[in-house]
């Protein structure tokens, strides 16, 4: 079924009788060519592009809970390609370009909205670093602007310009950055994949991997063994748990990242504002809630919930930047489990097991990467060769000393 304004009107006038399930609930088949473990954004996108762009069939996505229930459903919805390093920037720019055509591609309004993102500058050193980054972005075709204090003030006059502990001196802006309705991304990919024959199997948890002579044969699940020629794992915070079934230890730790939304408000913030000096970033959803976040809690966790100190820390950053929001109320907090890698950058790679592929280590950058991650992972699985924009995302970069460390924090995942 194709979605359109006409269809919405026609259905509205006929009592919404004609809408069809957005996806089926198939029983798992005994064998597939491709199994994608993880029905989050990356897994669903991978299945979608495998079917649509790489002409593959007999694909299943196995999800232990409900579709889109992982980090794609619990993030702060920001898209951007304002990265610094050569290993990252082409990939994120590829992703942003895919976002720009996504809704028409999968016929679902995910509300991709490029209202711009800005990273505030508070010191000369920060300006130097952002100048380096902005130039790298432009050289990679991503576009960037360096704003001075007055330009920032013209956009957001109510930020703290006059009484700030760390005065705003400007910003690095990417006008093409923005936000996307996060759940809709999962649903749009799921629908698109389902329409192309992909079996989306919910409540199906992988409990083991069958590996014979160094080759993957399939996965054990709570719904029985399911055979596969190739298995791709895209399970974010659960990466270490799932890959342990293949006897692997990963350069990844799982950490909880909290995110926050305020009560609904009439429009205040148009784009995305990042306040690095205060560990705070914010945007406003189309529904009116301020959506904001800050640092991870900082300790290994699989608990999908965080603690008060980070909530306070984020609120302090928010109030320092925006003294007008004192009476705006925090409505809801939530925690997602981040697959924090050792250099802050992801891995999309083969493994020592033939036919077993891995996609993870997204830290808290996974949402914006969703389209390119799916595409590049599909590319890798279908062609057994990395996509040109994802060649650096190898496991062995740590052994070879080719880290992609945007923040320069070294091998400590909770600092990325």
């Amino acid at each position: 079924m194709r979605y359109s304004g006409f269809r919405v009107i026609a259905e509205a006038l006929t009592g919404h009788k004609g809408w069809k399930p957005v996806w089926r609930d198939p029983e798992p088949q005994s064998e597939y060519d491709y199994i994608i473990v993880g029905g989050g954004g990356h897994g669903l996108a991978t299945a979608y592009y495998l079917a649509k762009e790489f002409g593959q069939a007999r694909i299943a996505v196995l999800e232990k809970g409900y579709l889109g229930g992982g980090n794609v459903g619990r993030n702060t919805t920001i898209i951007r390609s304002n990265y610094l390093l050569d290993g990252n920037e082409p990939f994120y720019e590829f992703s942003l370009k895919l976002w720009e055509g996504l809704e028409q591609d999968f016929n679902y309004n995910a509300m991709v909205s490029q209202r711009g993102i800005m990273n505030l500058i508070h010191t000369d050193a920060q300006r130097d670093a952002f100048t380096r980054r902005g130039n790298a972005m432009i050289m990679h075709g991503a576009g960037a602007r360096l704003l001075n204090r007055d330009e920032v003030r013209a956009m957001y006059p109510w930020l703290n310009f006059d009484d700030a502990r760390f005065p705003i001196k400007g910003a690095l802006a990417q006008p093409r950055g923005g936000t996307v309705r996060h759940d809709a991304v999962a649903w749009g990919y799921a629908r698109g994949a389902d329409m192309r024959g992909v079996d989306l199997i919910q409540n199906c948890e992988v409990t083991g991997m069958r590996i014979e002579n160094g080759r993957i044969k399939g996965v054990e699940t709570n719904r029985g063994f399911i055979g596969a020629k190739k298995v791709g794992v895209a399970v974010a915070g659960s990466s270490s748990k799932v890959m342990a079934h293949a006897g692997m230890r990963l350069p990844i730790e799982s950490h909880v990242l909290q995110a926050f939304v305020s009560e609904g408000l009439k429009p205040l913030i148009d784009g995305v504002i990042t306040f690095g000096a205060g560990h705070f970033y914010v945007s406003q959803s189309d529904k009116g809630g301020l959506v904001f976040g800050g640092d991870i809690d900082g300790y290994n966790s699989y608990a999908q919930r965080g603690n008060l100190p980070v909530i306070e820390d984020v609120a302090e950053g928010g109030m320092a930047l925006m003294p007008a929001i004192g009476r705006v109320r925090l409505l809801r907090t939530w925690g997602g489990i981040m697959d924090m890698s050792m250099d802050g950058s992801p891995i999309i790679d083969r493994t020592h097991v033939e036919g077993l592929y891995f996609n993870g280590g997204w830290c808290y950058g996974g949402f914006k990467a969703t389209p390119a991650s799916g595409w590049c992972f599909a590319h890798l699985m279908a062609k057994d060769a990395p996509h040109p924009t994802a060649t650096a995302y190898r496991f062995d970069r740590f052994l070879k000393g080719r880290m992609i460390d945007e923040k320069g924090q070294g091998a400590q995942p909770n600092l990325h």
Binding site: P323, G326, R327, G410
Partner: protein
Amino acid sequence: MTQSHRISGGQVDRTKTVRFTFDGIPYQGHPGDTLASALLANGVRLMGRSFKYHRPRGPISSGSEEPNALVELRTGGRQEPNTRATVVELFEGLDARSQNRWPSLRFDAMGINDRFSTFFAAGFYYKTFMWPKSFWEKIYEPIIRRAAGLGSVTRQEDPDEYDKGFLHCDLLVIGAGPAGLMAALTAGRAGKRVILADEDFRLGGRLNAETHAVGQASGADWAVAAVAELAAMPNVRLMTRTTVMGAFDHGIYGAVERVSDHLPVPAKGKPRQVLWRIYAGKAILAGGATERPIAFENNDRPGVMLAGALRAYANRWGVKAGERVAVFTNNDDGLRTATDLMARGVDVVAVIDSREGGELIPGVRHLRGAEVIDSSGKLGLKTITVRQSNGKTEDIRVDALGVSGGWNPNVNVHSHHRSRPVYDAGIAAFVPGEDGPPGLSVTGAAAGVLSTHGALRTGRDAAMAALGLTGAAPDLPEAEDAPVRVSPLWFVHHGKGRAWIDQQNDVTVKDVKLAHKENFTSVEHLKRYTTLGMATDQGKTGNVLGLAVMAELTGRSIPETGTTIYRPPYTPVAMGTLAGRSRGKEFKPFRLTPSHHWAKEQGAVFVEVGNWLRTQWVPKAGETEWRQSVDREVLATRKSVGICDVTTLGKIDIQGTDAGEFLNRVYANTFSTLAVGKCRYGLMLREDGIVFDDGTTARMGENEYVMTTTTANAVTVFRHLEFCRQVLWPEMDVQLISTTEAWAQFSVAGPNARKLLEKVVDQDISDASFPYMGAANITVCGGLRARLFRISFSGELAYEIAVPTRYGDALLREMLARGAEFDPIVYGTEALGVMRIEKGHVAGGELNGQSTALNMGLGKMVSKKKDSIGMVLSQREGMVQEDGYRLVGVKPVDPKAALTAGSHFLEKGAAAVAANDGGWLTSKVYSPHLGCDIALGYLKGGDKKIGQRMRIVNLLAGLDTEVEIISPHMFDPEGERLRG
């Protein structure tokens, strides 16, 4: 205006009158009123508009679960959106306004949405607004954004203060209804430290809203007595107006005390609210229960309320919500509303009971097996349509309807650790499940024990159990102990109209049906697709209803369908409260240098460096532009002598018989060979081989070293050294302590540095007795202990001299005075930067956490003859590439051309694309010595490009400049000056 709907009784103080306005119209109420009770007393029931359809709405509840009656309070910087009228304590002069309407609450133009509601079904926006592509951002989305949201936020700073604090107790009791009061009494009488917190301004919970007797008194009076007893106990802290907003790990609870919200403005210096972090040995959740509605068509009109709220307004506030009232219930509790209202003389015209059996209430028209199927009344309820058991329908004229679908235990806080509530068919509701927060037990209605006696009993027993009390249990007063008799009824099957489930977000039974049709059947999908439960009330009244409807549609049981869980906060919390005092200039503490007061006297310009304020430059009279000051400071230093406060550099005292070996292992270069009285530049790596920090370390004695770190890394280096000392090499005899603030340290640099210092130093510091890289404990000015290091960051003959911090200001003044003949100047961080870049020393821009010693041209410093942190991994193939980044110096071919740090290197003629990117400029300054901009940069293969010409481009500013690649040691490369 008279209080037309005020009736007798209740707990408001009728001797006093409180004046307030709503949408500009003046009204009166009494102390003890909420805004909602006072408006209802004045016959006002239209208080808001819904989110999507802009339907007229009045309050359905009398508490914090309220989805509808949201108003904007106060003005200016205190403007406060989305405030529940049901919990706002009335105060003199309160100014409330309705929101999400234009031009007025009664005539809202956006009410048109309601007429076209069929087009706005759940998730309609996912299916349209895609063509043409550009219209989403240009047309559709701006319209949606303008329409969205409820209240509006001020652009002014919130003038109120907020505070935070910490409390400790043996037992935290959350909720002061019968269960909570009994728990607190039990624990308090046993001498335990108790905190009893309740969100209400009057303790007692439902006891204040009911007419039940407790013991010999009314429930409300029993509560007053219990509170009085507790208040007299020094070991009990009663916290009214305090909401426990979240249960966090290991018995830490967050609580918000609304100190001043019941006042027009906070008293001077007093906070508006306080965020308490409560460390509770044990906790008891006695948060009561929330009544839920039954969905029927047009069940959202002002006047349709929860039955329990209707009687709360009558019993507690002496307010009748209508002249002609009906009750629609599926359980016995709903019947109490009819009897209570009748007892207060309110005209109850009908009781519509969905059950066939049960007791009949005498003296009222009691229809059994009947249902309310519809209602009418544009801005408020006028009639309900009732379908009787025989199928006949009848319109009944009423202006208030109390609806009771049963009570949902307030499990929220118990599920903050993701414990899933479980369904209890006996009360047709979810009760707390397994794996709640350790140490938290649940009692009373929150645990599904819905009688007063049950609440008192479980409250007492929970306190005994939680605290392990072994004495005799306190006696319980007599109280009602009626069984729960409820026949689940979630929504009334009838017709094609809309029956609301989530009133604020306008989620109706139809939306749930659509979600079901489209296979969004898991509760999480239902919530996300329809936005059920995502409004400001977080679904306190609607969630269970929604999933029950879904259960019915899918044919699954309610337990199979499951429920979503609640997350903190219990009710929304003001950002100001969570931030406390950390805002404005107080966001982070300041650190001031020993020369701060002197510099301030001189009109110095300061710069934030972490939490430090450092002198950036010190303008002299007549200097209008910062470069004039900086150039002067640099030239004066290089010509004669300059002084700079370098106290901010981290200083770590390292002692012990293994201190030398310890330094060998934490520095990439060798330290064990350093002689007493000498210092050495040290390069510290992270274990991954990247440069971590640098600085000089001096050997002050046989087993005594003083390490300096960069300002930025002082704390992390110290932490790292402690890690090495305690965790990696505990066999070593090493003691560490930070002395950063203990010593005021000044760099004295320039050809006349020694001459100036000789004026204050008591000892001989001639080149022979105190050569380059010397270090010594000395005295100054006739005996004051001091330290002297002959080190240079500027390339000049330079020293760093340190005295105990309290003498720092005096030493600076003394040096300037005694050395006046050398025209000494004080220079700031800008001049410091100029001189270090002229000299090619790495600092912030180069020490970026991504660079190796090799990148910095310091590869030879990494000794492979000894083990040190980072030595092995610094040798990985990707980090030792021949053509990798190398530090270079850069100057423009045209001396007038400007350079910008962050610009990138390109070969001549190369396009500005990533494939041609040669590296970037890390730091840039104007060198008055060389008469042009100069920079340091990382350039691929840079060590082989010295002398070549390249371009640097700054595409952000459209700059493209031809430069010469030069040695990073741009000034006095042979180092003759610093040895002078």
